[in-house]
């Protein structure tokens, strides 16, 4: 134990004296976050646009009230104004609201009777993606309420061409909309774009940071100190273990710095510290476990760098470090099992107020990933530094 501590301490001292760790683990990702924030800033803000909705609902109608209440909870910024039917139309025309909804009298009764209900939707000027989402949610609500509900878009007053009106009516009616219906639950788990940027870059660079451990081992070989270490009265496994532990420590420290500093700079709150710490530790365990495979494969530090860079880019990009990735079927499953993706997802949950109990899935994915990597490392024949 004393020898392991001696090894680890010396490893860390050397990594820190050699400034490249600090540069690669902290400074470069921070700079990239800043640059990407500048470049993508506008796009992010557009997505964040608030959906202004004016609603007229019948007094004392329970289901109508429930529908209105559900609107602000769909994960987007939704500003709901309840007002009378006439005013609703006026607001849409004046542009005060981008979307107007008129819920008819007897809404609850009709739904419960299974009769068709017409919710009138009016899209105002500049109605964009967010209005479509709101419409889809309304449709979803109607569907859930069990009615063969039909929503009619009556935008004639705004001068919308009939073809578009028909399309909108059909879109709302069938729920077959161009945009994906975002359920309340999922959107709670998603980071806003700036949060995703910070978490993604932290995840990507974690892959680079942990690689310094393996590189240290290969450097020992190139320095000749590995022979000397192996002549010391200690289990030779300690040498590898110390490198892996130094990767782990560097990974935890760097990721904590990136998430904290990135969060402060970009105004992202990742949630309560304990589950966030748990996510960081698991992500570092997962990525560090990969270095065991690299240790077995790489003969020189160049080779190790190349392997680590490939792994970092593949896992980082697939994990959504640069832009969100999604897919269905097998591809989707593979993407989901990525530790970087799991960390970003986990941070989404914690930023939405999730605690330890809510991040079980991403934690299990990351630990499972680590277990598989270690298993692979065991079977891969030793051709690298310790061969």
């Amino acid at each position: 134990m004393g020898q392991l501590i001696t090894l680890l301490r010396t490893d860390l001292v050397q990594r820190l004296r050699d400034k490249s760790v600090i540069i690669f683990a902290v400074i470069v990702p921070m700079a990239l976050m800043g640059a990407m924030n500048l470049v993508m800033g506008d796009a992010m803000d557009m997505e964040l646009e608030t959906a202004t909705v004016a609603v007229s609902a019948p007094e004392g109608d329970q289901l109508a009230a429930a529908l209105v209440q559900s609107l602000p909870e769909i994960g987007l910024d939704v500003e709901v104004t309840e007002t009378g039917a006439k005013d609703v139309q006026a607001r849409a025309e004046s542009g005060d609201a981008r979307l107007a909804l008129v819920i008819p009298d007897g809404f609850s009764a009709a739904l419960m009777a299974g009769e068709p209900v017409e919710v009138t939707a009016i899209r105002g000027d500049g109605a964009g993606l967010e209005s479509s989402v709101v419409l889809a949610v309304v449709q979803g609500f109607l569907d859930r309420a069990g009615a063969s509900a039909v929503a009619t878009a009556a935008g004639a007053a705004l001068g919308l061409p009939p073809a578009q009106l028909g399309g909108l009516a059909q879109q709302v009616a069938t729920g077959d909309s161009a945009i994906t219906l975002v359920s309340g639950e999922t959107s709670d788990e998603q980071l806003d774009p700036k949060g995703a940027l910070v978490a993604g870059q932290a995840g990507l660079f974690l892959m680079f940071t942990v690689s310094f451990g393996v590189l240290g081992l290969l450097a020992e070989r190139e320095l000749g100190t590995l022979s000397r270490l192996r002549s010391m009265p200690m289990n030779p496994v300690l040498v590898v273990l110390s490198k892996v532990l130094s990767s782990f420590v560097l990974g935890v420290v760097a990721t904590s710095i990136l998430l904290t500093a990135g969060g402060l700079l970009f105004g992202v709150d990742f949630g309560s510290p304990v589950p966030v710490a748990a996510l960081i530790v698991c992500a570092v365990i997962a990525t560090t476990s990969l270095t065991f495979i690299v240790i077995k494969l790489a003969k020189t530090s160049e080779q190790a760098s190349i392997i680590q860079t490939i792994l970092a880019m593949v896992l980082g990009i697939a994990g959504g470090a640069f832009f969100p990735m999604s897919g269905g079927g097998l591809l989707g499953t593979i993407l989901d099992l990525n530790p970087v993706a799991a960390m970003i997802r986990g941070l989404g949950i914690t930023s939405g107020g999730g605690g330890l109990g809510d991040i079980v899935t991403p934690v299990l994915i990351m630990l499972g990933f680590a277990a598989v990597a270690l298993l692979i490392a065991r079977v891969v024949p030793d051709r690298g530094a310790m061969a």
């Binding site: 001696t6 320095l223 000397r228 009265p233």
Partner: protein, 325 residues
């Protein structure tokens, strides 16, 4: 070869510090070490003399437990050695052929780090580090990173790390390669001192002068095989070693040759116009008598040269090639 070492070797009742028995190591098709066996007694300095690629480092790597042997065994102070063995490694100090120091750490940090791994700690460690810094002449430069050291300073530190924990057996793999003559002499002196203090030393080199100067016994290694082993004199006798004395003179060389042949140490005399070639046993003791006899028989000597066979000639004799190309 000193008399005391000879006695030590033969009278040693204690356990041998190192027993190497039938070591074999292959790299693919190449047999780098083919059946090497030797022993080192406590306090003895043993030299492995051989050219580049002879298998010295490979042998040492197996002895120090860095490399698994394909066949054979290594026993250090009675304990079997291998890559995963811990206990026998406590008795070893290794000075690898290639530098093995951390460039970003200072000399003191390097020493302290390896000292801790060797099991030293606290005041004992600090004291040893200070001693070794003094011994290697690095006390003044103890603080700066070793990447700023000169080549000789790095070499000295490299050696210092190996003897930090006062091992029973110090292994030095060509420690003087690439060192200026002054540093080289300092290194040889400190090896002599350590040996004088009772440390057993395994020393590899391809400089026969170093082997002759330092080593009680020498193993001559080539192509992974120990060709011969013994004290310097034993090795020379092995090739029928006799000395040569060459006299340059004016006068009756034939008559002088006749007189010289009668002397007991003289085995053979060839006379050739003003020059006499004598083959003698133990030239240093015989030379005075030879000069007296030659002068008495009327020769006016202008030059006397003694040449003795050395390990170079032994190596040439054994392998048919020079130690260094």
């Amino acid at each position: 070869m000193t008399q005391t070492a000879e006695q030590q070797k033969h009278t040693s009742t204690g356990q041998d510090v190192l027993v190497v028995d039938g070591l074999v190591r292959r790299f693919g098709d190449l047999t780098a070490v083919a059946d090497v066996s030797f022993r080192i007694a406590p306090g003895e300095t043993y030299g492995l003399l051989g050219p580049n690629g002879a298998g010295k480092t490979t042998t040492i790597s197996m002895i120090a437990g860095l490399l698994e042997a394909d066949e054979g065994s290594v026993t250090v102070v009675g304990q079997p050695m291998g890559p995963t063995k811990v206990a026998p490694k406590r008795h070893l100090g290794l000075v690898p052929q290639d530098l093995a120091i951390y460039p970003d750490l200072s000399a003191r940090e390097n020493l302290t780090f390896f000292g801790r791994l060797q099991g030293l700690s606290g005041g004992g460690l600090r004291a040893r580090v200070a001693e070794v810094l003094e011994l290697t002449g690095l006390t003044d430069r103890a603080k700066g990173p070793t990447k700023e050291f000169s080549g000789g300073m790095k070499r000295r530190l490299n050696i210092g790390i190996g003897l930090l924990h006062q091992p029973t057996l110090l292994i030095l793999d060509e420690p003087t390669v690439g060192v200026d003559p002054q540093s080289r002499n300092a290194i040889l002196e400190s090896v002599e001192n350590l040996s004088g203090e009772g440390m057993a030393v395994l020393y590899t080199t391809h400089y026969m002068e170093e082997a002759e100067r330092l080593c009680d016994r020498i193993g001559i290694i080539d192509s992974g095989t120990l060709q011969a082993e013994g004290t310097r004199d034993e090795l020379i006798r092995l090739i029928g070693g006799v000395d040569n004395i060459q006299l340059t003179a004016a006068g009756d060389t034939e008559a002088a040759a006749e007189a010289l042949r009668a002397l007991p140490p003289v085995a053979r005399v060839d006379a050739d116009r003003g020059r006499l070639q004598l083959t003698v046993h133990d030239a240093p003791t015989a030379v005075a008598q030879i000069v007296t006899t030659a002068t008495a028989s009327g020769l006016q000597l202008s030059d006397v040269q003694i040449s003795r066979p050395n390990l170079e000639s032994v190596f040439l004799h054994l392998t048919g090639k020079a130690l260094r190309d």
